[in-house]
């Protein structure tokens, strides 16, 4: 039975040894100069700018993991979409977030989903979050210098408990308790760092995730739209809510005013 398994093993999910590259003399240079990275204003001179600008965050706490994202997609100063799904449902137990190039994120996380499914079929059990994030980080590593733009958090609940990994386009892979990624991440960190605790209740955690995104969308022009929030538990993830951040603005304003009046 083992022999049969090994002869049926294919390298289908491994990064290909022949990459599709632009038909120019120096593909890496071409990618770097024409598909600028998500950081800063390096694509100011380009006619076609990548869709980017976002706030995503995820944090672990005693009741599981909260993943909270915005839904705005910008191309330069133009808001291309207000309804982007920035949480990618890799499988019922694994979530990935999207920041950077939308195409890169959704393609490579979908590809990760394929690799995870193949792992399940070959090994008869679900893949761990550590392995899944390592597969993605290795893929990013092999495409270094080719202009991919992706800052993602891979999160889920496996045999070792809730896990959260940050993976990005230059092959960085970090394990942590909470991360925020995107142009609005500094604003989200402000709220997260101040109020995060291990022992938040589920309600408090959802509120924290919601508020951190709201505050980031308030200050960052490239973030906005709808706050999509997910909660990951031992049984898998569930989508908690999808609330327009504008509605949150007026709701919080009312709360503050009624609080001051009291």
């Amino acid at each position: 039975a083992n022999k049969m398994m090994s002869s049926m093993t294919m390298a289908a999910a491994a990064p290909p040894t022949q990459f599709d590259v632009p038909n120019v003399s120096d593909p890496a240079l071409y990618c770097r100069s024409n598909f600028a990275s998500a950081c800063g204003n390096s694509d100011a001179a380009q006619t076609v700018k990548f869709a980017k600008g976002t706030t995503t965050l995820a944090f672990k706490f005693n009741g599981g993991i909260i993943v909270s994202v915005d839904s705005r997609s910008t191309m330069g100063a133009y808001i291309a979409s207000g309804t982007v799904q920035k949480v990618i449902e890799i499988n019922p137990f694994l979530l990935g977030t999207m920041a950077g190039g939308a195409a890169d994120c959704s393609f490579w996380e979908r590809n990760l989903g394929t690799q995870c499914r193949l792992y399940e079929l070959r090994n008869g059990k679900r893949i761990s979050v550590a392995s899944a994030s390592k597969l993605l980080a290795n893929t990013m590593s092999s495409y270094r210098g080719y202009g991919l733009s992706m800052g993602t958090m891979v999160t889920g609940w496996d045999e070792t408990g809730p896990q959260l990994y940050y993976v990005d386009d230059d092959g960085t892979r970090l394990k942590g308790k909470y991360f925020s990624v995107g142009s609005g991440s500094t604003y989200a960190y402000g709220v997260l760092d101040t109020h995060y605790r291990d022992d938040l209740t589920v309600e408090e955690a959802i509120d924290l995730g919601k508020r951190a995104i709201y505050h980031a969308t308030h200050r960052d022009a490239a973030s906005g739209g709808i706050n999509n929030l997910y909660h990951v538990t031992k049984e898998g993830w569930i989508k908690v809510h999808a609330i327009d951040v504008n509605d949150m603005h007026y709701q919080f304003k009312e709360e503050r005013e009624s609080g001051m009046a009291n």
Binding site: C39, G40, A137, M140, S141, R144, L164, Y166, D170, G171, T172, R173, L174, K175, G176, K177, F179, S185, T186, Y189
Partner: protein
């Protein structure tokens, strides 16, 4: 921006690195362990991008462990052999896809009963040293090492020098590196002396 520095003393080596991982203006993590254990009596303090750091250290440490396993535990590679193996891998990768890592490899040679410290940079240069540093940290700490180092100093004295170096970085280095992890390698193996933030707290 990583700070990596180390010093040999009578009976061992102390390695210290900062624990920060940052990109642009954001600190992603402040409890990273940048000193990878290689074998039972050696470790490598590494600076460079996280991707190269992880890929290089995992590659070297797993290959070293494989070598020892294949010999059924009869051959234990000396720090000299391990350093040369690592340097050779850096040299092979140099003209292909270089590992942009600068390394301080510290080890205790259990046969000769001496501690050894090796400086290795991303261009595959290798040099045995008594104390040293990688990165901007060198600008601040090498003078402290030059002044305070004594041949065959005791562990407590060497640790004091390391802590003076950390204090100097806190005072004068522009980049905020609040946490440092310090490990020692001696005849009993690799152990953590202290850390600013627990690397396992994730």
């Amino acid at each position: 921006m990583d700070s990596v520095f180390g010093i040999t003393y009578k009976g061992g080596v102390i390695l210290a690195t900062d624990q920060t991982n940052a990109r642009s203006i954001l600190t992603y993590q402040h409890n990273l362990d940048k000193i990878t254990n290689l074998t039972s009596h050696s470790a490598m303090g590494v600076s460079g991008p996280n991707c190269d750091m992880v890929n290089f250290t995992e590659y070297i440490s797993k290959n070293l462990q494989l070598y020892e396993l294949s010999s059924h535990g009869t051959i234990k590679l000396s720090p000299y052999a391990q350093a040369n193996f690592a340097r050779n891998e850096l040299a092979k990768a140099l003209r292909k896809g270089p590992f942009q890592v600068n390394v301080l490899l510290g080890g205790y040679d259990t046969k000769k009963d001496v501690p050894e410290l090796y400086f290795m940079d991303y261009l595959a240069a290798l040099q045995k040293i008594k104390f040293g540093a990688q990165g901007y940290a060198g600008n601040f700490v090498l003078s402290i090492f030059d002044k305070e180092y004594r041949e065959d100093m005791e562990f407590e004295a060497a640790l004091k020098v390391i802590e003076q170096c950390i204090q100097e970085l806190h005072v004068r280095f522009l980049i905020n590196q609040p946490n440092f992890i310090i490990k020692k390698i001696d005849k009993d193996g690799v152990s953590v002396v202290k850390f600013g933030a627990d690397p396992a707290d994730t």
